[in-house]
Amino acid sequence: MSDVKMRIWRGDKDGGEFENYSLKPQEGEVVLDVIHRIQATEAPDLACRWNCKAGKCGSCSAEINGKPRLLCMTRMDQLPEGEEVTVTPMRAFPIIRDLVSDVSYNFEKARQVPAFLPPPRPEGGYRMSQADVERGQEFRQCIECFMCQDVCHVIRDHEENKTNYAGPRLFIRYAELEMHPLDTNDRRDLVRDKMGLGMCNITKCCTEVCPEHIKITDNAIIPLKERVVDADFDPVAWLGRKILRRTKRTPAEASVQPEA
């Protein structure tokens, strides 16, 4: 087998350049393995974020040949053979160093989510049906790799939108809480007015990059849009909602348990 050729962006917020590395291939390797071998030999200061190395923690997000990928779940033998592999940090976030970007935007938006608010626990515990929890469970598979945020057009090339836009990662969080059988906290006005749900024009880029295969657009964003729909945009829906829009579950309603 011929050597693997890596082209890795090195630098910080003040700028940088690509550096080339060439290594002997090893069977079954993922991109992160190759980066670790480079660190252990020629570039011990090559910065790269990682933890579990099993696709479960979402730390090692970067862009491989221009596409957001988890470095630990991308096998070298699935990339075009013999071609150079280009690795760059996620583009939508500020650079810290090399492949590590500053993802604090996502943590700030998470801090703005009003908390889960269940009714008091009834004697014998909460009862929920499997079908009801499964809707939220899909979104709770999220490993917070933030690749959906990275690829989202609203912020990828529009830094100014970040102030008023929570992004797909947080939209699935809002959808999860909205669909949670026990939650009583109404966040619909917030997600429409302050979190920029309307700015999403459902191009589904987020769904395409999700390593957990969460149907972000179809199962979270679109249902969320329907629930918060604004009168100014859609008078028919507004009329419908005026009559039919369910109010958020009251604590009393959320306390009603499925039959044992």
Binding site: Q26, G28, W50, A54, S59, R75, A115, P118, R121
Partner: protein, 606 residues
């Protein structure tokens, strides 16, 4: 005096996995000023890797289950080396902790009547593990993370603590750390400190642990004067991936076996039937037919031997491979494909399905997995007072994997997530009680000491030429794997202790290239002293415990020694010295179990 960033808190919690998050929440609920400090981003700690579930005797699937059965399973699984009081608190309180998670937003899988569903796991008599498919750890950490964030707890992410600070009376007064993104130092003054730093797995070559498992908490606690116990008790999880080499060691959940998966050797035999130890014969099936009946109805047969405690299964796999009956890549076969429908497998074990499909090109709904033992967990750790998590150092508390005693010589699967919740909360309470009682009021950060620790951490930058930290880590891992592995003996342990001294010399000659901002080479250089200290403790404990018990297996002492079963090996540094300090190891009697608890253990299984 030092011109560096400084913060004062009532309680700082080091480590943001399950135990650290739960401790921080508890202390914050008491109205204290609390900070949470973690080496990685929030939500990435090793807890996220836990797959199978959280053990709690809620009795949702088998009404017969209760805290006494859970207590008995835990003590027997730990080969009776556990601190009885920790096992008791754990068994009694874990159901409340699971229910609490649900009140904070967790969505567990449900039974038909809407309760929390529980699954079977090794060593647990009844289906006991609350779970979310095979990603329970993620659910647990995300729930706690979201709770902590909603309480506005201050979080210092990607911030590595290098040393604890002691006052003149020995009590803890804070910690010195650095920001990984900038390499700048930061100090914390704190009345109380909770350690929740997790494990030590990175000292071995094949481990399920991430880069963070470098034993930081174990080491800084000992350097600050705390006692460590039972450090020889290290768990090799029976089922890690073995191929491709680059993923060797990654965890394959015990849930595969709990849900019906079986282990086979190259001859196709379910070899576990040949390895049931006397201690578990009365409650383990002796034929495949009986074992298979058990999955659907636990009263129709005894448990399959594949679900013996982890130490037994790991040793058995090791023996099969040694006897030449292993799989092509040096493991054995874990087969669920022939036993459950493809749909069931994908639904119950979704992340295992993806892990094998994407990393090994193996479809587990059609083929068997190749698996073998991987270093997973350390039962030993900082000696704590069970009710409060306090250590021998005033103001210092510990919870989770960094603490010792709860799991004895071997931990049961599922008992870790419940441990994090039960003792994370208790350590948070213990720290809050200490602060409210006036503890740490005189705590003052010693600037000279801070300067000394910073200079130490920066030393690798001062050398033009020297050791590569990655080479050192590699050599340590190879050495520990070879000499302090799953099966141990006297000469190899002596060799390990000698080699560790050589490595300690070499680590003082590390040279690091580049700047301080996000420099993984330097970060590793600051991890290595802790790795060497904990590796030494494991080797010393393994040398002195001349018996086989749980995670400690000596081929030169193949049986359990009843006398050694009555002692903990306690390690400390009486004359200080930190990384270079001399380690003293002494056996001390286990705490005496009250008669009512002893009676639970002696009761015959139903």
């Amino acid at each position: 005096m030092n011109d560096i960033e400084h913060h004062d808190y009532d309680v700082i919690v080091i480590g943001a996995g399950g135990a650290g998050l739960r401790a921080a929440i508890e202390a914050k609920q008491r109205g204290l000023r609390v900070a949470l400090i973690c080496k990685s981003l929030l939500g990435k700690a090793h807890t996220v890797m836990a797959e199978g579930g959280v053990a709690a005797a809620m009795g949702n699937v088998y009404e017969e289950d209760n805290w006494m059965v859970h207590f008995r399973d835990t003590m027997r699984g730990g080969k009776m080396l556990n601190h009885y009081r920790m096992a008791e608190l754990h068994a009694k309180e874990s159901p409340d902790r699971v229910h609490e998670l649900e009140a904070w937003g967790a969505l567990f899988d449900r039974t038909k009547d809407g309760k929390i569903l529980q699954r079977d796991f090794g060593g647990h008599r009844y289906a006991r593990l609350a779970h979310v498919g095979d990603r329970t750890g993620l659910e647990l950490i995300r729930t706690l993370q979201q709770k902590a964030v909603s309480m506005d707890i201050d979080v210092f992410m990607e911030c590595k603590v290098i040393r604890l600070l002691n006052g003149p009376d020995g009590s803890v007064t804070g910690a010195v750390a650095y920001w990984r993104p900038t390499g700048e130092f930061i100090t914390f003054g704190s009345k109380a400190v909770v350690l929740a730093t997790g494990g030590v797995g990175k000292s071995w070559k094949f481990t399920s642990n991430s880069w963070e498992g470098t034993g930081d908490g174990h080491a800084i606690a000992m350097w600050a004067g705390a006692d460590l116990i039972d450090m020889e008790c290290v768990q090799f999880h029976p089922t890690g991936m073995v191929w491709p080499l680059s993923v060797r060691g990654i965890l394959v959940t015990e849930g595969v076996r709990g849900d019906g998966g079986v282990l086979r050797n190259s001859e196709g035999n379910r070899f576990m039937f040949d390895y049931t130890p006397d201690m578990f014969k009365a409650e383990t099936a002796d034929s495949e037919a009986e074992a298979d009946r058990w999955y659907d109805d636990h009263t129709a047969g005894r448990r399959p031997p594949e679900l013996l405690p982890r130490d037994e299964v790991a040793r058995s796999i090791n023996s099969e491979v040694k006897a030449g009956r292993g799989s092509p890549h040096g493991g054995v076969f874990l087969d669920i494909a022939s036993r459950r429908s493809a749909e069931d497998i994908r639904k119950r074990l979704p992340s295992m399905y993806h892990q094998f499909m994407e990393l090994a090109g193996v479809d587990i709904t059609r083929e068997a997995m190749e698996v073998g033992p991987t270093l997973h967990y350390i039962m030993g750790g900082v000696r704590v007072e069970p009710d409060s998590g306090s250590t021998s150092v005033p103001g210092l508390f510990a919870a989770g994997e960094v603490s010792g005693g709860m799991h004895g010589a071997n931990r049961l699967g599922g008992n870790s997530l419940s441990d994090l919740l039960v003792f994370g909360r208790r350590a948070g309470m213990g720290a809050a009680d200490y602060v409210e009682g006036g503890g740490g009021n005189d705590a003052k950060v010693d600037d000279l000491l801070v300067q000394h620790y910073m200079d130490e951490a920066l030393e690798p930058f001062t050398r033009e030429e020297g050791e590569n930290p990655y080479t050192l880590q590699h050599d340590l891992q190879e050495m520990m794997q070879a000499n302090v592995g799953i099966i141990r003996n006297g000469p190899e342990l002596d060799e390990a202790i000698e080699q560790l001294e050589v490595l300690k010399e070499r680590v003082q000659n590390i040279a690091v290239k580049g700047g301080r901002a996000y420099n993984p080479g330097w970060n590793l250089a600051t991890d290595l002293p802790a790795m060497l200290t904990v590796s030494t403790c494991v080797a010393l404990g393994a040398r002195d415990r001349k018996e086989s018990r749980g995670g400690q297996t000596r081929e030169d002492f193949p049986k359990a020694d009843p006398e050694l079963g009555k002692v903990n090996f306690v390690q400390s540094q009486p004359s200080g010295g930190g990384f270079n300090g001399e380690i003293k190891i002494v056996p001390e009697p286990l705490p005496v179990m009250p008669d009512d608890l002893r009676a639970i253990l002696e009761e015959a299984p139903k």
